[in-house]
């Protein structure tokens, strides 16, 4: 073997090594692996229609996962994504249908209510010093209750105009573009801004952040609020998808959001994980459900398969840790 090819192969292994050590590599490989396996297992998988469906189904979950992952990176947990998205969707629908406001105002109202829920969560955690698990559990329950009060348990119809989110811009629907936009935004926010850096630092060692003269409470409050906005956008997406504000939207979605974060390599102890990871996590979670239906697997077995995939992914992601709780 000549010296030159030797060097280039050495360089290649260096690049590979660097990639492997990057936090996003494992979720990405998991995603790639499952994608390839799916393509082999089901001929319908790679069809443009199915890929489109996958992207549409992933978009709201990805938004939830981005919000959730920020909270988890801070070392907290958020159980409110599902209820918040439903509440935001409901409020937007009411603003649009009952108060006959323009679409933009309706969207803003939805996002504002999401921000408000997040803000309250943040206040409960930072000022009332309630553990995030409990505070957001309260939001989960109360949020759903508000949705049922506002809707009377019946869907709010007449949201055809929300279709701006599902209509195509170029090859893809608006909401898929939005998902990509937020993936990039989330990456920038968490990697290149002060805010993002503080989020990681709080998750890594909150005491140190406080001792460093940083207003950790403010950062937490801001982050919970932003997460609420993300959930609200997911709620608007679901409104658009169903063309109604469905009161049971996002029932149980908090677990999907947490699972997406974990599959995306976000450590539940906080402070570690790639901002892009949750995107792949959400994609993988959607993909598994999709491909199992494509293959016509018995619904009861689908649960078992999903459980196994989660465990395998978790094993791969937590390898090298001394112990977990």
């Amino acid at each position: 073997m000549g010296g030159r090819s030797n060097r280039s192969s050495h360089q290649a292994t260096e690049i590979l090594k660097a990639f492997w050590q990057h936090e996003v590599s494992k979720p990405f490989i998991a995603f790639l692996g499952l994608f390839i396996v799916s393509a082999v297992l089901s001929p319908a998988f790679l069809t443009p229609y199915n890929q489109r469906v996958l992207a549409l189904q992933t978009a709201p979950l990805a938004l939830l996962a981005f919000g959730e992952s920020m909270i988890i990176l801070m070392g907290s947990i958020d159980l409110s994504p599902g209820s918040t998205m439903a509440l935001a969707g409901t409020v937007a629908a009411i603003t649009f249908v009952h108060y006959k406001q323009p679409l933009a105002i309706a969207f803003l109202a939805g996002i504002a209510i999401g921000a408000l829920v997040g803000f309250i969560n943040g206040l409960l955690v930072t000022k009332a010093k309630i553990p995030s698990f409990v505070a957001t559990l309260a939001a989960l329950v109360a949020g759903r209750g508000m949705v049922l009060i506002l809707t009377g348990g019946q869907p709010i119809v007449g949201l055809r105009a929300f279709g701006v989110l599902t209509m195509d811009i170029g090859p893809l629907p608006t909401m898929v573009w939005l998902m990509f936009f937020f993936t990039v935004l989330n990456f920038f926010l968490l990697t290149y801004t002060r805010w993002g850096r503080y989020i990681y630092a709080i998750g890594g060692n909150e005491e140190a952040v406080r001792c460093s003269g940083i207003n950790a409470d403010l950062i937490k409050l801001m982050t919970f609020t932003l997460a609420g906005c993300y959930y609200a956008i997911a709620g608007l997406m679901m409104d658009a998808r169903l063309e109604v504000a469905y009161p049971w939207t996002g029932w149980g979605a908090e677990l999907d959001a947490i699972a997406s974060s974990v599959l995306g390599g976000i450590q539940l102890t906080g402070g570690v994980g790639s901002p892009i990871g949750p995107f792949f996590g959400a994609y993988v979670l959607t993909l598994i459900t999709n491909v199992l239906i494509l293959m016509g697997v018995n619904p009861f077995y689908q649960w078992v398969v999903k459980g196994i995939v989660l465990v395998v992914a978790a094993i791969a992601l937590t390898r090298g840790l001394r112990y977990v709780k």
């Binding site: 089901s42 319908a44 998988f45 069809t47 229609y49 199915n50 469906v53 549409l56 189904q57 009377g152 348990g153 019946q154 869907p155 119809v157 599902t166 679901m238 998808r241 169903l242 063309e243 109604v244 469905y246 049971w248 939207t249 996002g250 029932w251 459900t289 999709n290 239906i293 494509l294 016509g296 619904p299 009861f300």
Partner: protein
């Protein structure tokens, strides 16, 4: 410390005294103030799971219609309506209250089939007639009869409507059908699943029908959408979708439209429950049919049954009296609501 202890004791004393006085006053008041029950006057208690739901409001309306009818015949019936707001504890307390009022019959629409059993047992011990409506309780020996929808039968009707539509459409056999089920383990989901298969299985054997997919969508619209999307990704050669409730059917319709197909034409969809959205979809031709239940008759028959039992010593021939279900299609979409909200004679009732 010491003074505190004394204060505490005094406080407890006062509280206990207040409670005792209140109880005594209550008993005395109820003895003197409560109207002495007239010999002919009947008192029924209707315990509704949740009056926030329009469905159960219709049940209450049916019961009140029956009371009115009886009054017209000169029979004094008082109906006490309780709303449990879907809270089993509240319903238990309401049953206890009704027992204390010495009602003649309890017409119960249970919040939970197990949780209220002890209270119901007390009622039976107190000699009160118990009838269940819309939902049954776990211990069937406690109630005289149960009146409600036969979900197996309703599901059979739904599939029959679907087959009829397929025949009319002239689509070539075998028809390719997708089934969406509800939450596994719930009575409604299991009964409807049974009903679907009762009709479909012989057809599958005959080769008229092919079931291309059978999935669970948890009675939810968003799940119905997502599951149907994936099914459509597998194959677009689908003739019909039958769903165990309307929410899933509406989600499926959304998916069908998203795939560039026309619901009602390319794919025929049938739901169940006749919720307002679904009725709209039937009007618009997107959904071929849905199944309407009759909560009105569930309330109506419960009161009538109680009357016959208490006054005439009637023994119902069967302990399950199914209320009729109506297949809602474009043909009767305007009129079905009156159809299910019309008093009908109780099957097997004694002659007047």
């Amino acid at each position: 410390m010491r003074t505190l202890g004394i204060a505490k004791k005094t406080l407890i004393g006062i509280v206990v005294a207040i409670i005792i006085i209140a109880v005594i006053a209550g008993v005395v008041a109820s003895l003197y103030l409560a109207p002495a029950p007239g010999k002919k006057k009947l008192t029924f208690a209707l315990l509704v799971s949740n009056l926030g739901n329009p469905y159960f409001v219709m049940l209450k309306d049916g019961a009140e219609a029956a009371v009115k009818e009886l009054k017209a015949k000169g029979i004094e019936v008082e109906l006490i309506v309780y709303d449990a707001k879907d809270d089993p504890d509240l319903q238990v307390r309401q049953i206890e209250e009704a027992i204390a009022k010495k009602v003649d019959a309890l017409l119960i629409n249970p919040v939970h089939k197990e949780a209220i059993l002890p209270a119901v047992r007390d009622a039976v011990k107190a000699g009160i007639i118990v009838i269940t409506t819309d939902r049954d309780i776990a211990d069937k020996s406690l109630r005289v009869f149960f009146t409600g929808t036969d979900n197996v039968y309703g599901a059979e009707l739904a599939v029959k409507a679907l087959i009829e539509a397929l025949e009319k459409s002239g689509k070539p056999k075998p028809w390719k059908i997708v089934i969406l089920h509800g939450i596994p383990g719930t009575t409604a989901a299991e009964d409807r699943k049974k009903g679907f298969h009762n009709v479909l299985d012989p057809l599958v054997k005959k080769g008229d029908v092919k079931i291309v997919a059978e999935e669970i969508a948890y009675f939810r619209r968003d799940k119905g959408l997502e599951v149907m999307e994936s099914i459509l990704a597998r194959t677009k050669e689908i003739d019909a979708v039958i769903c165990a409730n309307d929410e899933m059917a509406l989600g499926a319709i959304q998916a069908i439209e998203g795939a560039g197909l026309v619901p009602g034409k390319d794919i025929i969809v049938v739901g169940y429950d006749a919720i307002p959205d679904a009725v709209e979809a039937v009007k618009a031709g997107k959904m071929y049919a849905t199944i309407a239940q009759s909560p009105f008759l569930q309330g109506y028959w419960a009161v009538m049954g109680a009357y016959y039992i208490v006054v005439k010593g009637w023994k119902p021939p069967k302990d399950f009296i199914p209320t009729p279900v109506v297949v809602v299609t474009k043909a009767n979409v305007g009129t079905f609501s009156e159809e299910v909200a019309k008093p009908k004679p109780l099957p097997g009732a004694p002659s007047e």
